[in-house]
Symmetry: C2
Subunit: 353 residues, 2 copies
Amino acid sequence: MSQFGEIETPAVLIELERVEQNVLRLQSHCDRHGIALRPHIKTHKLPRLARLQIEAGAIGITCQKIGEAEVMADAGIDNILITYNILGDSKLQRLLRLSRRCRLSVVADNAVVVEGLAGAFVGEAQPLNVLVECDTGAGRCGTQSIEQTLGLAQLIHNAEGLALAGLMTYPPMGDQGRVNAWLQGARDALLGKRLPCPVVSSGGTPNMWRAQEVPTATEHRAGTYIYNDRSLVRAEVCSVDDCALSVMATVVSRPTAERAIIDAGSKILTSDLLGMEGHGLIASAPKAKVAGLSEEHGTIDLTNSPWNPRVGERLRIIPNHACVVSNMVDRVYLLRGGEIECEERVAARGRVT
Amino acid sequence: MSQFGEIETPAVLIELERVEQNVLRLQSHCDRHGIALRPHIKTHKLPRLARLQIEAGAIGITCQKIGEAEVMADAGIDNILITYNILGDSKLQRLLRLSRRCRLSVVADNAVVVEGLAGAFVGEAQPLNVLVECDTGAGRCGTQSIEQTLGLAQLIHNAEGLALAGLMTYPPMGDQGRVNAWLQGARDALLGKRLPCPVVSSGGTPNMWRAQEVPTATEHRAGTYIYNDRSLVRAEVCSVDDCALSVMATVVSRPTAERAIIDAGSKILTSDLLGMEGHGLIASAPKAKVAGLSEEHGTIDLTNSPWNPRVGERLRIIPNHACVVSNMVDRVYLLRGGEIECEERVAARGRVT
């Protein structure tokens, strides 16, 4: 395989040792606490790494879109939860076809979605597993009360073609006690009405080391942990040395003593700030600030840095948000022992539907 | 072709009548003022629309990356300016191959880049056109003084395999007088040393109606004008009705009276704010705020809006920044007369090198 120096920049590099360590570390944590782990593949979008997660002990995977799940099913992944309200005939037909070739679950937070799913799956030999999505405080999708959760659960349970599989939440970060109280109340309400609730699915990478503080949850979904990123270093969930994904860039211009321009802009690093200043961390020169991005240029402010890069010099940037970077490129380079092992196509990139 | 209702969302829609009007309007403006127009294809990344721009009178196109230029040359576009410092053997070899099949120009703002280009093109029958990139105030790439510009121009002029083609700038928005003074000083310095300066290339869509206020410029590069977007509406460069690109989304959840969740998130709208609040404009309900984005969800704040969408309802969003949206999708839908004319592959999407 090509040497480092031959790679054209910008390029996304993935260090496999760090990936493996990150995967094993969270798997052991979940194993230790008796929580099933269901990784979200949005972070890597690579069947190869989904298989690695399964082999390490994950019970299946999480996808956000049918298109992602199709790619993963094509690669032989069998147990898939799509954490999304799926609507519309065309998508429902795709979902139906997908359900015939893998174990599949979806979520719903409203009756329109349940009716659509029920209409598509009526008469199917294998009912579709549906979890009620609950808003435990994150303020995105989800039922707003236990009463509403119960009503929707009843609707799913009564629908031919659907099987009530439990509860799911995309929780707020940090308040595990509140999340647990919410889920416990909802689960108990279901069980009180003799409704099944085999799965209670919570998630989040920032929360992952505290997954056990939501004992009602039977499984935890996490995505970013496989790569980590600057936002998680800042949240003290991981260290810089745990970050497996970086963007390699080249200094293309040194207009002034304080300014270096690199060939990585928002088309590879994205504009995601996640509440931070700057557009990534240069691990080898942390005082150099990735101060601005246009589409194909990054502006490095060297004012407070002793680093004085020459034109042509290469650097590696840990992005603010790893997941969105994976979605910007058709291929990534997988590294082992500091050498390129192979190039990998980002098979589930850009699957917006 | 499929009806609107059959399109899976989120989807990028392009209204061709608006595209054609936008193309013709800027072309006439440039024609009237005797300025050559060299559209930047980063906005659409579609050979079909590059051809439309050429047929309307553009002298050629602008690309930011060799990969974009390769796609456009494959589609028969002949006159291409790559406004980028190109470095590294692999890219220089690609550039050399590209130069043998189309009229090609590049820029350089430092001696390392010039030496690389000269090394690759020495002995070529057709020298490579190189413009000196000048920093006229935008603070990105570019020479910092007339003296430096002159030195680099001399280096290019003396290099076998290269032809000095003039000056290029990515100007600051708004201060046309200063940009003109800079370019005029630099051009006069070149001419005073009997160096050629046939082309002086400035650009920018926010500046486009004032391109004539930089009379030293022989050509203007603009990209976003073909689609326009919320940032340009806000800058009063165009009206909402001139916006040709929109993202069609579906309301997937109505958790509360004030909140609607749509299936368009940062994976299609991107996180680009361009100094604005909110993530796009819902033209049919402008008081509804696209308040937050995660990767696959958008949160609409309906607090100040009379709009009360039901689950399943569709809407169209004019994004903050059109160019970056084109880069997020593998295909777009082209519309005429409010109907879908065809689907078009975004051929130059994701060309980061």
